[in-house]
Amino acid sequence: MVRKRERLEVIKDVLESIRSNRNIKPTRLLYASNLSPQMFKEYINELITKDFIKLEIDAKEKKTFSLTKKGQDFLQEYRVIENLIENFGL
């Protein structure tokens, strides 16, 4: 059986997809994140609200996502956060 991803793991995967693809389009990010469209929308809204990612729209109305400083900080600290949660049974 496929293991259900934890919320933090999903966030990490989405942010990593954005980091590795630099200015990724929404449709491509949806495929890369492996989420349902509904869940994808919820996660993206959360990440924008928390200032982890930003949505950029160019002159041709083309939408792309990019990482913010806070998003990069999260990816750098992800291992530490995961370590704390697992070692303290949180």
């Binding site: 530490v80 697992e86 070692n87 049974g89 949180l90």
Partner: protein, 219 residues
């Protein structure tokens, strides 16, 4: 050695409180930074536990000053200590009790935590009315029995992969021991030797938590 400790009792008490308050402050700062990034509820409750322990111990140090007429502070001391225990237990339990549909913005002011506040306040008030610490001791003994069982399960399930789970379980057992010794001392003989033993165990517990936080958050 023991005579020296008796002679310097006040100095040792101050040093004990200072060490624990400092340990709590470090843990709160470290966990708060990780909570701000992750919004993880378990980290949030763990941070709250050490915040309340820290405040509790600072209030306790004020109670040691004989010139201060703030004996009512004893209620706050008990309240913060009991709440800290509740937060620590809840950091282990929240996944089993909270549904993802109910998200409270504040971990300090929400209906669930309000229940803990009420219980802590009732225990602190009863103890102060009766001039005892017994209700606090027994509430904490019950709480740490539960926390020991949960942390033992965590250790059995994931102990090989995550090494600190073993120390976490040890910290819960030590806490249970310290509260039991406290209750024994309060019921039978309130001797300095017992109290010194409790202080030493408590210091070891907080240092163990500090070691864990420093170790697992090391990059």
């Amino acid at each position: 050695m023991f005579e020296w400790m008796v002679e310097n009792k006040e100095l040792l008490k101050f040093f004990y409180t200072f060490v624990i308050a400092l340990v709590c402050a470090i843990i709160v700062v470290k966990t708060d930074r990780l909570f701000n990034l992750s919004s993880h509820k378990g980290i949030r409750y763990l941070r709250n536990a050490f915040l309340f322990y820290g405040v509790g111990f600072v209030i306790r140090s004020l109670l040691e000053i004989p010139a201060l007429p703030f004996k009512f502070l004893n209620i706050f001391f008990e309240f913060f200590l009991i709440m800290a225990g509740f937060f620590l237990l809840y950091s282990l339990l929240w996944k089993r009790l909270e549904t993802s549909s109910k998200n409270y913005n504040s971990s300090l002011f929400n209906p669930r935590i309000f229940l803990f506040y009420s219980m802590a306040l009732i225990i602190a008030l009863i103890d102060n009315l009766l001039g005892t610490y017994i209700f606090m001791f027994f509430s904490q003994i019950a709480l740490f029995i539960l926390a020991s069982i949960i942390s033992f399960k965590n250790y059995k399930n994931n102990g090989k992969k995550h090494k600190f789970l073993k120390f976490y379980f040890a910290a819960m057992l030590l806490s249970l021991g310290a509260w039991s010794l406290n209750a024994f001392a309060a019921l039978y003989l309130w001797r300095l030797r017992f109290v010194t033993g409790v202080y030493m165990i408590n210091t070891a517990i907080f240092l163990l938590f500090l070691y864990g936080v420093m170790k697992v958050t090391k990059k």
